[in-house]
């Protein structure tokens, strides 16, 4: 961003705010960090665990929403990228004894690389074919852990146990582990949202939208379509990889049973619920898919229902919320928020 020399005048501050996306996003990021910190302080340890889970889910969903919402590609297999990130982190933390920050960076970069490979194939596939290919990835990749040559390394069906990161002693001896985990995830979430927001406003983001709207037109106007599509896959897989690394340290595991097709589908559900292409929507979606199962289970348990019904209540509620949101806001929750915002502004003018 080109910065004009700062002039000590209040009237100039607004244009700078308008002009500089970097500054605007930076301010939102700082606000977001403060909000997250305040939230984590008031919540109890278990709620902090859920906060951490929401955060890593939101990171994966944000990546997915960039892929689908910006570049117009679909992935039913993002759970597989989460698995790659989780296993990479588990191996580096437990076997190599690396410290957390480099582990997360390598997990992100490594998964982005895997995403680029998939992206090469994806750039040649369209619509249902791409959906099918990524679906196969979600089903196939986690069972790689059970492959004979890799069993020793990846722990087979039982998977790997990851020791959680210990809060530094400077925070006090009784500082809850779950709050430390949620802090790590929160910082990563804000950083990812900041980077993705900038990406979406950059020339690259514009190119991605162009590719989504009309590939031929984009190609004619000098956009390298395949390269943009591969890059989008790469970025979104990187996000899923980081989410996977955080998944491993929050849940203390990397195991095939955790990366089911249901995980991939719930990421997609979150993206659709929140509103495809919207980063704020990714957060709303992550909140819903993380908390809804817990709430509905508690509800069912309190109602003391028979076992056959009790076991299926979470799924029913899940479906119900999905139907309701799609009926009320076809463009996801974020579109609803925008519409309400517009209504409020119009009312104010009157």
């Amino acid at each position: 961003m080109t910065e004009t020399p700062a002039r000590p005048s209040a009237t100039r501050a607004l244009p700078l705010w308008r002009r500089s996306t970097l500054l605007r996003h930076g301010c939102w990021a700082v606000l977001g960090l403060l909000g997250f910190w305040a939230l984590s302080i008031v919540l109890d340890p278990f709620a902090n665990l859920q906060l951490a889970q929401i955060s890593y889910t939101a990171i994966a969903v944000a990546g997915l929403t960039v892929l689908s919402g910006l570049s117009g590609q679909i992935s039913l297999g993002h759970g597989a990228f989460v698995a790659v990130g989780a296993y990479t982190s588990a191996l580096l933390l437990e076997n190599e004894g690396w410290s957390l920050a480099p582990v997360l960076i390598v997990a992100t970069a490594g998964t982005a690389l895997v995403g680029a490979l998939v992206g090469v194939a994806a750039a040649r596939l369209r619509g249902p074919y791409l959906a099918g290919a990524t679906l196969a990835l979600a089903v196939g990749l986690p069972s790689l852990a059970d492959y004979h040559g890799l069993r020793e390394l990846l722990g087979g069906a039982n998977g790997l146990v990851v020791s959680p990161p210990v809060p530094p002693l400077s925070l006090g001896e009784t500082f809850p582990l779950e709050r430390w985990q949620s802090w790590i995830c929160g910082i990563c979430l804000v950083a990812v949202l900041f980077l993705l927001a900038n990406l979406s406003r950059s020339r690259l983001g514009r190119d991605m939208r162009l590719v989504r709207e009309d590939e031929d037109a984009a190609a004619l106007s000098g956009v390298h379509v395949a390269r943009i599509q591969i890059l989008a896959f790469c970025v979104s897989a990187g996000c899923a990889g980081l989410a996977g690394g955080l998944f491993a340290i929050v849940n203390n595991l990397a195991a095939p049973g955790a990366f089911t097709l249901a995980l991939s589908l719930s990421l997609l559900t979150a993206a659709v619920l929140g509103g495809l292409g919207s980063l704020a929507g990714a957060v709303y979606g992550a909140v819903i898919v993380t908390l809804l199962p817990t709430w509905s289970t508690d509800l069912a348990q309190r109602a003391d229902l028979p076992r056959a019904i009790y076991a299926n209540i979470p799924l029913v509620l899940y479906g119900l919320v999905l139907i309701l949101v799609i009926l009320a806001f076809p463009g996801g929750i974020q579109s609803g928020v925008r519409r309400i915002g517009r209504l409020l502004r119009r009312n104010r003018k009157i």
């Binding site: 109890d44 665990l49 069906a157 998977g159 203390n252 195991a255 049973g257 817990t294 299926n312």
Partner: protein, 434 residues
């Protein structure tokens, strides 16, 4: 005056300090504020699959354990406390197990975990439970990994581990099918590996003609079964879960191959297996009678059989079943869960009126618990392994018929020895004797 006042102040100060210190110590070690324990109730938690692939059979364990506790509670509970079990569905997904276990410990503040089910799921919370000093009793899995008192002082197994069972079956095969060719059909994970470790200690390696693994989830086992059939094995040992015992039998039937079957107790419950056989056969349009197909299946049992003769424990469990969970089948899973529930009640009884987590562990380490099991436990300060063996059973006329005496052994190179102490009678009201 000044002199006499000072010592008083010092004493008051010292007393206050001592009080504060004991209060702080109490927070960590128990005392009056043990989580999950009140004068009238003790709250415990469990995770198990109520939905998903692993739910058939296993989902009965939560309600069955709860029914046993309800029955004990109706007789007045233990030391005036009612046992309240909260069991939750993890769908056999370890990520869910972690979240739910933390919820049970951090939010619901359970006193202990009891009967949490599954190796890939529960191995992920053992560190958390032990670092939080939550007793983690009677994990429902035969993994040898629960028996690590140095690493995991709060975790205890319950059923005989897969190696112990493998040794007893291996010993039987060697003695009763001498010289016959043997094949193994095993689940390709720790379950299968631990089981084969036990089998291999007794079965002559020259006689083992084929070892065929299967992946849980992949229901096509035709390749493995035909490889075993081609090898000419006369005895096939199944280290399988019930679904794969049934799949093996059906696939072998299609190939016209009917070897002598020997199965780990995990996959040998006649009610579950015959039910599965009928289900699978119905799906492929060929109605069969499940019990006919498993006639002659040999296994090792460590609990009395649901159908076998007069047994006071089975009578007690059937009464509990008919009263609280009449809609569930009365099968091995129900017996299993009621039995570990009873063992927990025994430990609670032994831990005394002033219940603390450490008190519970101490009581458990003193050992000496006998109950529904046919063999003794191995609990002690140096052993957190559960039942030490089993008794050979053969399915005859659809029922598990026990033969010979119960046998005990260990994980290592110890011999298989008979256990001749008779089983104690079950208390009528379900409450273990103090």
């Amino acid at each position: 005056m000044v002199l006499s006042r000072r010592p008083r102040a010092a004493v008051a100060l010292a007393a206050a300090l001592a009080l504060t210190l004991t209060a702080c110590g109490g927070g960590g070690g128990g005392g009056g504020s043990t989580p999950g324990v009140t004068d009238t109730e003790v709250l415990i938690g469990s995770t198990l699959p109520l939905t998903g692939n692993a739910a058939p059979g296993y989902s009965e364990q939560g309600p069955a354990a709860k029914a046993m506790f309800d029955y004990i509670n109706a007789s007045g509970g233990i030391h005036g406390r009612k046992i309240n079990l909260k069991y939750v569905d993890d769908g056999y997904n370890p990520a869910n197990t972690v979240t739910l276990t933390k919820q049970l410990v951090l939010e619901d503040k359970v006193f202990a975990m009891v009967g949490a089910l599954g190796t890939p799921t529960h191995t992920k919370v053992v560190d958390f439970l032990n670092s939080s000093r939550v007793p983690d009793l009677f994990v429902a899995s035969g993994c040898t990994c629960w028996d690590q008192p140095d690493r995991n002082p709060y975790t205890y197994g319950w059923q005989p581990d897969y190696t112990v069972e493998g040794k007893i079956l291996g010993d039987y095969v060697t003695k009763n099918f001498a010289g016959k060719k043997v094949a193994y059909f095993y689940q390709d994970d720790d379950f299968g590996a631990d089981g084969m470790k036990g089998l291999d200690k007794f079965i002559d390696q020259n006689l083992v003609v084929s070892r065929q693994p299967y992946q849980p989830g992949n229901t096509d086992v035709a390749a493995q079964v035909s490889a075993i059939a081609r090898s000419g094995a006369e005895v096939v040992v199944l280290e399988t879960i019930p679904a794969y015992t049934a799949l093996f039998k059906l696939t072998a039937l299609r190939l016209g191959y009917s070897p002598q079957l020997v199965a780990s107790s995990v996959g040998a419950d006649p009610v579950t297996v015959s039910g599965l056989l009928e289900n699978y056969a119905k799906q492929s349009g060929a109605p069969v009678t499940g019990t006919d197909l498993i006639e002659g299946l040999v296994s090792s049992a460590y609990l009395p059989s649901t159908t076998g003769g007069q047994n006071s424990w089975i009578e007690l469990f059937r009464k509990v079943h008919d009263q609280y969970i009449p809609n569930l089948p009365f099968d091995g899973n129900v017996i299993y869960a009621m039995s570990y529930a009873y063992t927990f009640a025994q430990v609670l009884q032994a831990a005394g009126k002033d219940l603390t987590r450490q008190g519970l562990i101490d009581a458990l380490n003193k050992g000496g618990f006998t109950g529904p099991g046919l063999v003794p436990f191995r609990y002690g300060p140096d052993s957190h392994a559960g039942y030490t063996g089993g008794q050979i059973s053969t399915i005859t006329g659809g029922q598990q018929v026990l033969s010979g005496t119960p046998l005990t052994t260990d994980d290592g190179d110890g011999p298989v020895v008979p256990y001749t102490t008779p089983q104690p009678a079950a208390p009528v009201n379900g409450v273990p004797a103090a």
